[in-house]
């Protein structure tokens, strides 16, 4: 079990969640696994506690949810950087636990944040976790919380409310609506990073259209338009395997046009995202465009080079 513990801490410290997940899965049947993980929660080293939280989140079940909520309160009470890091991990783990207790624990966490008028960072994490544990019962809680919060710190909670309130068709119309601010749409897109259900794949065409409509601004200045495009690209790339094959020919073509335009964006986040998206939806003739707008910085330049190379090799195929 010592090796299990060390490997789990290592994998979690490096963000290697697939490795950590596989490890927990391998040891799931061992009766000592839960005992070891719960003992790790009491270690002074925060990375060990984070790994334990991840492990319990993977084991799941009501027992894990209960223990994690206890840990959440303990870590909040610490009020230091290490405690904050474990709080963040607990919120994420609760978002992965299907048992009823997990959602309830997240709601209680949200209520504490509202009372404390907390910073957006935590609010975003809770909103993402609640989206994973979405249920109509959450609507009154979210509405109540938003009514008490300063809009500046409500972060993704506003996006979560939109997602909970609207059907896929309504969401599609909402995303196309030019009277809805890009900032608002960005909050919705950001919540979808946590989970993109199949039922919402069709709505992406509307979000892509909204980006196309603001692409001129996104190319020339760093601001709300470029940030929206950047976050949309992030979402599309996080779920690339599901999204790209599901796009209609028309939407795919629109996305390619958008990416071609935005590789020239002055916002490096936006242009980098565009380059990677273009690698997926582009054509061999897009390679020179990538080379033209290749940044000087080597890390970013490599992304453009790889994309151009991939497009060219597609031509050979």
């Amino acid at each position: 079990m010592e090796q299990f513990q060390e490997e789990l801490v290592d994998a979690c410290a490096w963000g290697e969640e697939d490795r950590a997940r596989e490890l927990v899965s391998r040891f799931r049947a061992e009766p000592m696994t839960r005992v070891v993980l719960e003992a790790m929660l009491q270690e002074p080293d925060a990375t060990t506690r984070q790994a334990a939280v991840f492990g319990l989140g993977e084991l799941g079940g009501a027992a894990s949810a209960l223990r994690l909520e206890q840990q959440l309160v303990l870590e909040e009470a610490q009020g230091d950087y290490d405690g904050d890091s474990v709080v963040e991990e607990v919120i994420r783990a609760l978002g992965r636990i299907e048992a009823e207790g997990a959602r309830a624990a997240l709601v209680r966490k949200l209520e504490r944040l509202v009372t404390a008028g907390s910073k957006p960072g935590n609010m975003n994490s809770v909103a993402h976790a609640l989206w994973k544990r979405r249920h109509p019962d959450l609507l009154p809680v979210i509405r109540q919380s938003l009514s008490q919060l300063d809009p500046k710190v409500s972060g993704s909670l506003q996006g979560l409310l939109v997602l909970l309130e609207k059907t896929p068709d309504e969401l599609q119309a909402w995303a196309r609506d030019p009277s809805v601010t890009l900032e608002y749409k960005t909050r919705v897109v950001t919540v979808l990073d946590a989970d993109l259900p199949e039922a919402l794949l069709t709505t992406l065409s509307s979000f892509i259209s909204a980006a196309s409509a603001s692409s001129e601004e996104a190319v020339s200045q760093t601001g709300e338009a470029s940030y929206y495009c950047n976050r949309l690209f992030t979402l599309l790339l996080l779920y690339k395997e599901q999204v790209i094959p599901a796009l209609s020919e028309e939407t795919r073509s629109e996305l390619r046009t958008l990416a071609r335009r935005l590789v020239a964006s002055v916002d490096p986040n936006c242009s980098l995202g565009a380059a990677v998206v273009l690698e997926s939806v582009g054509l061999p003739e897009d390679a020179p465009l990538l080379e033209t707008h290749r940044p000087a910085e080597p890390i970013l330049a490599k992304v453009f080079d790889d994309a151009a190379r991939a497009l060219r090799s597609r031509q050979k195929e």
């Binding site: 060390e6 490997e7 801490v9 290592d10 410290a13 490096w14 963000g15 290697e16 969640e17 697939d18 080293d45 925060a46 990375t47 060990t48 984070q50 950087y81 290490d82 904050d84 890091s85 963040e88 910073k119 957006p120 960072g121 975003n124 993402h128 972060g155 993704s156 950001t190 990073d193 760093t222 940030y227 976050r231 690209f233 992030t234 790339l237 996080l238 916002d267 490096p268 986040n269 980098l272 995202g273 990677v276 940044p295 000087a296 910085e297 080597p298 890390i299 970013l300 330049a301 992304v303 790889d306």
Partner: protein, 510 residues
Amino acid sequence: MRIVPSLLRVTLALSLILAAACATSREQLRADRGQQQAQFPAGGSQHSESRTSGPQRAKSTAVAHPQERALAEGITWAEPLPVHIDSLPGGRLRLSFPPQVSSLDQERLSVEEIRPLLAAFMSFRPRATPRLRLMLETPGGTGSSQGTAAPWELRLREEFVSQYGPALLPMPESLETSRLYLALKLSTRYMDDGIREAAQELFSAPAFLASVSLSVLVYFAAWLAPEPLFSKAFAAALTVRLSLLVGLVELGQLARACLRLYQEAEAATTPQQLEAASERFGKALGGTSLRVLVVVASLGVPQVLPKVPEGGLWTLLSPMRHAPASGLALESIATAHVVADGSLIIAGVAAGTSAASVCGELATCSMMDDAGGASNGGPKLSTRYGKPHTRQNPPHNEAIEAELAKREAAGHTDLRKNQPQQNANKVDVYDRKPIKGVSFRKPDVSSVRPDGIRHNTNYVSNPRDMQRELDAFEAMGRADPSAIHELYLLDGTLVRRYVPPGVGFPSMGR
């Protein structure tokens, strides 16, 4: 079984008495030598027959050249100090090096000595119209360069990497137009009289200069870690061999001088800063280190330089303290690990190989038996780092906490420790080209500067993880190119820094 002869035991005792901190610059080295030269072997005399029985203290007189002064005062030299070898469990050996003062002869390098080598490099890539162009408009660059590598350079790179393993520092698109290449070229004018002419000849050969640049990026970069580990057999054997010849501390000093040049060249934003970096490097480089540089650079390209046999290269260092080990003993070495106490632990020495043969028949090595320590449970590992592959590591934690406190005092907000990477809007960001499925990273320290720029910093928690740290650094850059990203060693040495275009660094308040 103890096999240390009594003479060596006496010498060992002397080595303990005479142990002195090694100098960090040539000037300091000379100052030290002024005090120690009567006690340590110097010049090519260590293998000569004129050894005498004991040291004599030099009188303090102001003679211009130390060697002339020594001769004038009839100083003679003691036996060279031995490298101590301990056998460790698992067939490993620990080599402990006494302080080394290099030979005065080695402080010079003549054009005649390097002529065959120079001809070989020139035949591969002759001098041409300089392509050097100073492009310093991007501050804090990471190996920035202009243009693409020429075919000859690509061939050189392939050979080098195949010999030494992958580069630990970012490889510029073209070495020939890189800052490091330019800084190296400029450095010769600041070198000492005894080596300048030869250096200028060598450094005028593009293929040689490219090989030296590769040496820095591929081999010497290992010294970015406080305890460099060489896991590629060729690099491991070379490290052992060079350490036996010139001393481990001295080899490390050269590596650090090279890395400093690299870092300063990368950070330079004006031609004056680049020139200053070259000057520091040129002045720090002595004849011995230049010889080592030549050997390391040339060994990386054996196919390119078939006309210069390896033995020919090693003659550049052959009059040094210890003869090179016999090929068979060294070829089997799998890893070499420089540990914080100044010793070198080698693994993979072929079964049945005597430890003494590692040093070579002319070397002065002393063997320690179990009573000499380090026999119970293997070598004492450095306590600077915690458990391998974890961050249960007090110095690492202290570095993070200290940085957080500093940033808080400077007015940074959203201070985060070891949490998933976020942007300046406090929203999670993801690597758009994830490596091995790792889509997000956890910076050790993250905050938002008063001017709204996110600033992420990682510390190398375990030198064995350098590649993973570099991967994480680049992943953070891809996830959020609008943020500042840094990678440091725990001793504060900057490994990499990314500063977005148009962002000032450091900002006001830091």
